[in-house]
Symmetry: C2
Subunit: 260 residues, 2 copies
């Protein structure tokens, strides 16, 4: 029986709210099992870009990461957000360490190829260095990943935080029984978007396909859930989606995804 | 006989110059011995502060780190500069990892006490976690430190990069034969400031005192050299001061400091 490893991904809504973030980090630090935190960016990057007079570059309604916006992402995600999370986890007696994918070559990605849209400095993950991540975990160090990777040729790349979480989960399932937790603003996957309590407690692949057909899982939720099932298919033991209470009290309302 | 560990500190002049930095990182990556890089900030932080309309806060001619300027230091030093150095070292086959003092609680500092001047969020180093730094080095990982530390109570603090380098050197001399290299814009300590080639090749404590008395070591150089002798007195084997050629070719002109 492999040891359990909990991977938790948090999004911008928690990061933006000082009080929520503080409570979340306290609960995260209290997780007894080995653990990894992955965080998104939130609005701080947009705010900084605005203050500098930079406008988000959009092509065909999609955000493009040019050189200036990459620098801002690196400053805000890898600097401001990541290091403040690390010091606050340390204050909660969690021996955290902050990473981009460049650090110890932990996450190698390739610049997204230009087809119809040139997304700029955006990376798609090629490899997660699970062996080195394991080294840290075996030494009681808790990795905290921001959504920046690199191409091993000296270029940092902006990368989707949900995908970072699921790819790390897949890589670590070679060594651990991995539980992947997506923490976001809702209590789980909802059957009726207007009713915040209409959480679907369990979704397997069959139900997932049906929910997509019915238009209940759509838009932003679609790639998120797709990521989850990819992780399950590649060896991740369990995937849960819910709000911040997910890691504090597992009895709370949330969605659990499974293959069968 | 202990294994040699080379610690190199670089300042703003190299960081600001893309070509110089690129060459330096190539030479640093080629150092065969275990090694640590410590980098200062340079003008990027001031530039970003200016772009945001923030003015450096000065009290009695001394720079004060208020909340906004701390955030900028964290973004620029721990984010932009640190992660770009890490990915470029990785491109040169050096397994680098970027750190603040908060990461793995590597450098604990205390907020500087208010006497005559409140320096704001400035930290004086209390402890360097040499045991964990050693763990990384034994696993062929090259630590890259920026000049941010923390107080273990959730507060990041701006810290002098020269002092970070010398305190790390002192802590690591428990495990290694440490060689501390300060790389800056001059070829070494000069006997005549107007002659850039008037490098004093060797300075021992006696000569140091004489050079201070004669006013040859003064102002900015004084705390730098003081740091060096403190390091030597606390067990660091060798301290060298010179320009970027220092690490590429040890035969080049530079200053070596020693106790006797």
């Amino acid at each position: 029986m492999k040891q359990t490893l909990k991977i938790v991904k948090i999004g911008g809504n928690i990061i933006e709210d000082k009080q929520q973030l503080s409570l979340f980090l306290k609960n995260f630090a209290a997780i007894k099992e080995p653990k990894i935190l992955v965080h998104g960016g939130g609005k701080s990057a947009t705010k900084l870009a605005n203050s500098l007079g930079l406008k988000p570059k959009m092509v065909d309604g999609r955000r493009v990461t040019d050189k200036e916006n990459l620098d801002i992402a690196v400053m805000v995600y890898a600097g401001l957000i990541n290091k403040n999370i690390v010091t606050k986890l340390q204050a909660n007696s969690c021996n955290a360490i902050g990473f981009t994918g460049a650090d110890a070559n932990l996450i190698l990605s390739g610049k997204r190829l230009v087809k119809n849209v040139d997304y700029g400095f955006v990376g798609d993950i090629v490899n997660v260095n699970g062996k080195t991540i394991k080294l840290f975990i075996y030494n009681d160090i808790t990795p905290v990943f921001c959504a920046i990777t690199h191409d091993k040729s000296g270029q940092l790349l902006n990368t989707n935080a949900d995908t970072i979480a699921s790819e790390i989960a897949i890589a670590m399932s070679a060594f651990f029984e991995v539980e992947l937790n997506y923490v976001f603003e809702l209590k789980g996957v909802l059957s009726a978007i207007e009713n915040k309590d209409s959480v679907i407690p369990k979704i397997n692949i069959k139900k997932y396909e049906q929910l997509v057909d019915d238009g209940i899982i759509s838009e932003g939720m679609l790639p998120k859930i797709h990521n989850c099932f990819r992780a399950l298919e590649k060896g991740v033991g369990k995937v849960k989606i819910g709000d911040a209470s997910l890691i504090a009290n597992t009895e709370n309302l949330h969605t659990t995804l499974s293959l069968k």
